[in-house]
């Protein structure tokens, strides 16, 4: 809930003019009703008060009864001055605007005698409580996560950064559904150029509605065609405030749980905020695991194809004979074998996420075990491949950013196909493509491979190896923060 305090002196002058005729009042009510026709949750209530009849208009789905009672009805009956203190005056001649006010949860008070309209912000739509996150859970560290309410989210961040330099600029976007967003940054460190670019991009957007911030994210990314996410997304207030302090820009959106951080880099997709809570040794180990896991997951199954179709000599003899034996019953060439089992894994994963939680787990296990073993026994795939595919599927879930893990799964197919074409050579070509693509990408003007194309040597302290916390004071080069 939010109350806007308005200076009352002007309001009083406006109200104290009893020059209104009854006709005019009815006319106004009529227009108002016309404007809100077929919006059945808008209610009109006539209430006699000290200052004549007042019509209270509000949207019952956005305003709770309790709020209404305590903020409107009781003051109207008893202390009407209170109303004047909190209310805002709007121009009664412009009634088109009124519906927008109703939609944002404000209550309108029409004073028949004076022909004035006051609004009180009574927005009190039901919101979710602050719960812990399911998608980015950590063992150590704060457990609270953003909810779908913009105010809650901002308050969660403001609680962590109590600094007047922390600014948030609100804006409404969406040509049809008006969605509130808030751009948050630290005034003294943020790069003003990047901020301007971002604002320009947001203002240019011509899109009807935003159901989640990820829609907005895709519209303002530097290269929308790339399979890689170019902005960081998180639902963790601790992670977001870390980035804010570093000088990044954060975008919040009402009705959307996650916040978007920009600019970011490829490498940050493998950073979990928990790394900063762990000992630096553990954190470094985990980071290396995630980072090299990404390259492993796109390389393992293509390797299998290359070795089997093009370079049998690179495998040890014993392993090769085992492979030959398990492959002897398989009717497809290795490429199709791999594609087949990879698709089955995708199906399992996708089906598992759609199924109700109770059924999902059972079906997942049944699917995994039954399909896995049965397919091997039926001679559709070789058992070694099952191990490889399962490993690479697990590895693909290592990145803390889910979008990145989706990306790794997608580009794996690219690698599989190129391995099927030219074996290891194809894989290396694909790898060269990947490198070129990554180095060409930008995140709000910052190179995507930032710490590796060194912009700032101190960035390397917080890259694959996370150095001890005392060394990580300085701002990263990625945010291009202002020099103090």
């Amino acid at each position: 809930m939010k109350f806007k305090l308005v200076r009352t002196t002007k309001v009083d002058q406006l109200i104290k003019k009893p020059n209104n005729t009854k006709n005019q009042a009815e006319q106004t009510i009529e227009t108002l009703k016309k404007n809100t026709r077929n919006i059945d949750d808008v209610l009109f209530k006539k209430i006699p008060t000290d200052e004549g009849i007042v019509t209270v208009i509000y949207s019952s789905s956005l305003v709770e009864k309790m709020t209404l009672q305590s903020m409107v009805f009781i003051p109207l009956a008893n202390h009407i001055n209170q109303i004047h203190q909190v209310a805002e005056v709007i121009d009664p001649s412009d009634l088109k605007d009124v519906t927008a006010k109703l939609d944002s949860g404000q209550t309108l008070l029409y004073f028949h005698q004076t022909n004035t309209i006051l609004t009180i912000d009574t927005y009190s739509a039901p919101t979710r409580a602050i719960t812990s996150t399911m998608t980015e859970s950590t063992v150590i560290g704060p457990q609270d996560a953003f909810s779908e309410s913009l105010e809650t989210n901002i308050s969660l961040v403001r609680r962590r950064i109590q600094n007047p330099k922390l600014k948030n600029e609100d804006q409404t976007i969406g040509t049809e559904a008006n969605i509130r967003i808030s751009i948050m940054y630290m005034d003294d460190t943020v790069n003003k150029e990047s901020l301007d670019t971002l604002k320009k991009r947001i203002n240019k957007i011509d899109y009807p509605s935003f159901t989640d911030i990820s829609v907005l994210k895709q519209l303002i990314e530097d290269n929308p065609l790339s399979p890689f996410p170019q902005y960081y997304m998180s639902v963790r207030p601790d992670s977001i405030s870390r980035y804010l302090i570093d000088g990044r820009i954060v975008i919040f959106m009402d009705n959307s749980q996650a916040a978007v951080v920009c600019p970011t880099s490829f490498f940050e997709m493998f950073i979990s905020v928990e790394d900063y809570y762990n000992r630096w040794t553990t954190a470094s180990l985990l980071r290396m695991l995630r980072f090299f896991g990404f390259f492993l997951t796109i390389m393992i199954t293509p390797m299998y194809i290359s070795a089997l179709t093009f370079h049998p000599e690179i495998l040890p003899y014993e392993l090769l004979l085992n492979l030959q034996e398990s492959r002897s019953k398989v009717p497809f060439p290795p490429l199709f074998e791999v594609l087949f089992i990879e698709l089955i894994i995708e199906v399992l994963r996708e089906a598992g996420s759609r199924m109700p939680a109770k059924v999902g787990q059972t079906i997942g296990i049944v699917g995994g075990i039954v399909i896995g073993t049965a397919a091997v026994e039926a001679g559709l795939i070789s058992n070694i491949l099952v191990v490889l595919v399962a490993t690479s599927a697990l590895l693909s879930f290592l990145p803390p950013i889910f979008l990145m893990s989706n990306t790794s799964r997608f580009i794996r197919y690219f690698f599989i196909l190129s391995a099927g074409l030219f074996g290891l050579f194809g894989q290396m070509l694909a790898f060269a493509w990947l490198i070129t693509h990554l180095e060409g990408l930008k995140s709000l003007g910052t190179p995507y491979l930032a710490p590796f194309i060194p912009r700032k040597a101190s960035d390397l302290l917080d890259s694959i190896i996370r150095f001890p916390t005392a060394l990580l004071k300085s701002k990263t080069g990625i945010s291009k923060s202002q020099k103090k």
Binding site: E313, Y317, L320, Q324, E325, S328, V330
Partner: protein, 370 residues
């Protein structure tokens, strides 16, 4: 318009390119016969009997290795012939061992065959070569009851097992390197089938591409020691020092060799200092109960030194008689020779070579028993 044109153009070009690519048939792994061992047996000057061992994976098959034998004059021709016999495509990508029978080694074109394999990029450089005493085909076809797969058996036998067993393993690169290097003469291990076992019998010495002599493992150990190998196989020694029969076994040897030449290939002289550190693992003889003081050990060390020195000198004399240089002693003169070194210079150097051998043995321990 421009974009559309570009797109159409690209598609057009791509369409044509499809025609360029021939349909390439990939042979999947399971339809490939990977030759593990090749054996060459001498028939006459032009023809060779080529035998290959290809492992079988099918669990139903009675034998786990297919063995094909053909007569041929060229290696690749032989492979083509074998392909006709086999149900699979025969590839050499996983070749592990090349066997050459002794007669072939003495008379045949070993160097050409190995060079052929060296040139083939599918064949690795780590293929081991060995000389077979007798017939290579028989050795491959033999029944080895406790080692069912000949492919693994031979490979494991010839690969050095962690520095303990004696092993003069020679792979394709080593062979080509020593054959083409004027300061070296190649050596190859000799294996022989004895009942249902295969044994490393000794080492074959080559002179100019042909085998001329075989020596025992203990002599071959001297070659390794003088080549500067840091860890040696256990060394048995007969000491004949007036104390009657004495046998010493040194184990876990670390050796270090220093060779100094007088840098003059016309009157060559070498000063060889061999340092050996090891454990006395076994001793048989009269002094058995005296070997617990440092002094008595020092005497034993001295005896070992003398014996080793004698052995080495005798062996070098033997090499001199054969006019070969498997150790590469002439390298010590090539290093200081301006101009192109060649086989003749090696021969001349070896013939005139004077060697001064010093051995220093130190026994680190005699085991844990007092």
């Amino acid at each position: 318009m421009n974009r559309k044109f570009k797109l159409m153009f690209t598609l057009f070009v791509l369409l044509f390119l499809v025609g360029c690519s021939e349909k390439e048939v990939k042979v999947p792994l399971e339809e490939v016969g990977m030759v593990g061992i090749m054996a060459f047996d001498y028939i006459d000057e032009d023809t060779t009997k080529l035998t290959v061992a290809i492992p079988q994976y099918s669990p139903e098959a009675k034998r786990n290795t297919q063995i094909f034998s053909v007569k041929t004059d060229l290696v690749s021709k032989g492979i083509v012939k074998i392909e006709k016999l086999s149900d699979k495509k025969v590839i050499l990508n996983q070749l592990r061992v090349v066997l050459i029978n002794e007669e072939y080694a003495r008379k045949g074109r070993v160097e050409k065959v190995i060079q052929n394999l060296y040139r083939d990029s599918e064949v690795g450089n780590k293929v081991l070569i060995a000389v077979v005493n007798g017939n290579g085909e028989e050795l491959l076809k033999g029944q080895y009851l406790d080692k069912p797969n000949i492919n693994f058996y031979l490979n494991d036998l010839l690969l050095p097992s962690i520095n303990t067993a004696f092993n003069p393993n020679t792979n394709i690169h080593d062979f080509i390197y020593t054959v083409t290097n004027p300061v070296f003469d190649p050596i190859l291990p000799i294996i022989e089938k004895i009942d249902d076992k295969i044994e490393i019998k000794g080492v074959a010495l080559f002179k100019n591409k042909h085998m001329i002599e075989s020596i025992t493992p203990s002599e071959a150990l001297i070659i390794q020691a003088l080549q500067g190998k840091k860890k040696l196989a256990p060394l048995p020694l007969d000491l004949n020092k007036g104390n009657g029969k004495e046998i010493v076994m040194l184990d876990l040897i670390e050796s270090k060799v220093k060779i100094k030449s007088n840098k003059n290939h016309k009157s060559p002289k070498l000063n060889i200092v061999l340092n050996i550190k090891g454990t006395l693992s076994e001793y048989q003889g009269k002094r058995e109960h005296e070997l617990n003081t440092p002094k008595s050990i020092a005497i034993l060390e001295d005896d070992i030194n003398k014996q080793l020195r004698k052995d080495i000198e005798e062996f070098l004399k033997k090499l001199k008689g054969l006019k070969i240089d498997p150790i590469g002693l002439s390298e010590n003169f090539r290093m200081y020779y301006k101009g192109k070194w060649n086989d003749k210079l090696t021969d001349a150097t070896i013939a005139k070579l004077k060697v001064d051998v010093h051995v220093k043995t130190s026994i680190i321990s005699t085991g844990t028993l007092k």
